[in-house]
Symmetry: C2
Subunit: 345 residues, 2 copies
């Protein structure tokens, strides 16, 4: 017996769902109708339409830097904020930790000591203390707990509610057009994977980041992975194309970044690519709604060389102040409305 | 104006398409209706049906060993066959290569010299000569060319036509049920990624394997990745859960292997997993149609400890001779029919 009701149910859904697409709703409503939006839509149109620029869906790989590209990287990268908060949380109950000179410097607010030396050894030590020596499950639980309670000092919102609305729309727009979206970030892969799927719709297996090698152990008859500082891989600068090769294994066709740390990735994606490619740089020009550091580069988010190279390479440069109608994603239901950053038309 | 014809078209397709599913076509026709097939189907039914065992699609990660699990690993793993053939191809035109003592041993058929020492240094040297020092594009082209021309010594077929038909069906069956399928192999990730999508439907970004770190370079103004022997990662034994953590970033719910090299992966997936999990071992019992080495373990494919552990862990053990109706995938159109391995009912 044919269950007609069940067969017809999808059609009913379709009749309600399709007119939205048919109306041609704007997939990027938080972008002003300026150059970058036009360039994005023209590119996506080209690679998805049958014709000389067509790219098969399997090859539609898009890679996104995270800090400064999908969410802010000030006053410090959010993962550093996690490390600092975690030390403050643990120190009172862990005398050995509290006795560590770099921990004492951190607790005293002495950032100069942490950042001393060419390699910022103090900061690296703080990162090691908070990112190694525990199991992956313990680390994930600690990051989750922090994300649920910590708030950004300037915007007074949970960090995961500070993603850029225009970039969220861009991620969804690309995926709706058959792209597979990846994060390729200097941040730690394990840190991002805790929330990337919920926050960006990007599953853990599509997150490439700085990483170390865990150690497999059986503890009380149960398998665990213990985080170590072995085989450190820094997924930044030249490390980004290296990470792409090692973790994704093929050349993406679109890359999105915001700093000189993304230059090599942009080059790898856009120079000599057999497919039509797209490169984009988000420029932080918006002191009113976010931060302005394009004119006064900081250690995190320096954008000098990549910006110089952009015109010759055909990279699209986004001026946050001029090209974005909205900066941050709407607050989630239940959040205080007053923390919402005002739109700028 | 509503385009009813367009709206209705999917329904028309549905009416033709659905009866096939409704008829309950067997998704695993190359499996005899014995224990393993029943266990696979019961497990997939459990995690996909709403109920206490349900697992959300995002968490349906299945990991497959390759050598000995998806295709044979005898008389030598196919990647070693590639390395040997590649040395033979290159040596006549490269005097420096031909003068290498290990190359001379290989050309003389002196495997004892290559395998001497605890770490088989000679063999590793041959692997380095054929897997490092070239760009990723050059390596990919060489592997492709080899795959198009080389033939397996016993079966006289191209290597990529020696995949196990029952496992191909299993990959498709899992994907049709919302699983994301990954390879997690001791073989080289770069080697497998050249053909994994075409041969298994598994894209490069879902291939985890042994790997090294490439070097990013600009050559004549073009970005290239040069394969090196730096930061060698061996994705075998304890390295398998480590690779899963580093490359996939979450615990799979199903694992398929064939040797002690897969034991740690099977443990990681099936012990203490918060979701219902599935572990399976393919046992090589079929001297007539493939190889029998379950009773006489070789260096590649040793299955002793994992087999001992299987009953206590609830791992499903497949007896190739008894549980598989067909071993190899059908030859592709145009291939000689006489190389097709006879079915065994």
């Amino acid at each position: 017996m044919t269950d007609w009701k069940r067969l017809l149910a999808p059609l009913t859904l379709m009749l309600f769902a399709m007119p939205v697409a048919a109306r041609g709703a704007d997939p990027l409503p938080s972008w002003h109708d300026t150059g970058p939006k036009q360039a994005i839509m023209a590119y996506v149109g080209k690679v998805t339409a049958k014709g000389p620029g067509y790219v098969a869906p399997a090859e539609r790989i898009a890679v996104f830097d995270n800090d400064g590209t999908l969410w802010p990287e000030n006053p410090v990268p959010f993962q550093a904020a996690y490390a600092f908060d975690e030390i403050r949380r643990r120190a009172p109950a862990e005398p050995a930790l509290a006795a560590d000179p770099m921990v004492q410097a951190l607790l005293a607010g002495d950032m100069a000591t942490l950042l001393a030396g060419k390699h910022h050894d103090g900061l690296l030590h703080i990162m090691a203390l908070t990112h190694a020596g525990m199991t992956s499950d313990e680390f994930n639980a600690a990051v989750s707990a922090w994300m649920n309670t910590a708030r950004h000092p300037k915007f007074d919102r949970p960090y995961d509610q500070l993603t850029y609305q225009p970039m969220q729309e861009l991620l969804r727009y690309l995926r709706a057009n058959g792209f597979k979206t990846f994060i390729v970030s200097g941040g730690g892969a394990d840190f991002m994977r805790v929330w990337s799927e919920r926050v960006y719709g990007i599953p853990p297996e599509q997150v490439v980041g700085s990483s170390t090698r865990s150690r497999f152990e059986m503890r009380d008859g149960r398998p665990v992975l213990v985080k170590t500082m072995d085989a450190v891989f820094v997924d930044d600068k030249d490390g980004k194309p290296v990470g792409i090769q090692q973790f994704i294994g093929r050349r993406p066709i679109a890359a999105f970044g915001n700093s000189d740390g993304d230059k090599a990735m942009l080059e790898y994606v856009t120079i000599g690519n057999p497919h039509p490619s797209f490169g984009m740089i988000v420029r932080h020009t918006d002191a009113a709604r976010e931060y302005q550091y394009d004119v006064n580069p900081k250690s995190s988010g320096t954008l000098v060389d990549a910006l110089k190279e952009a015109p010759a390479r055909g990279w699209t440069v986004v001026d946050m102040a001029a090209d974005w109608r909205t900066v941050f994603a709407d607050t989630v239901p239940g959040e205080k409305a007053d923390v919402r950053v005002t739109e700028r038309q």
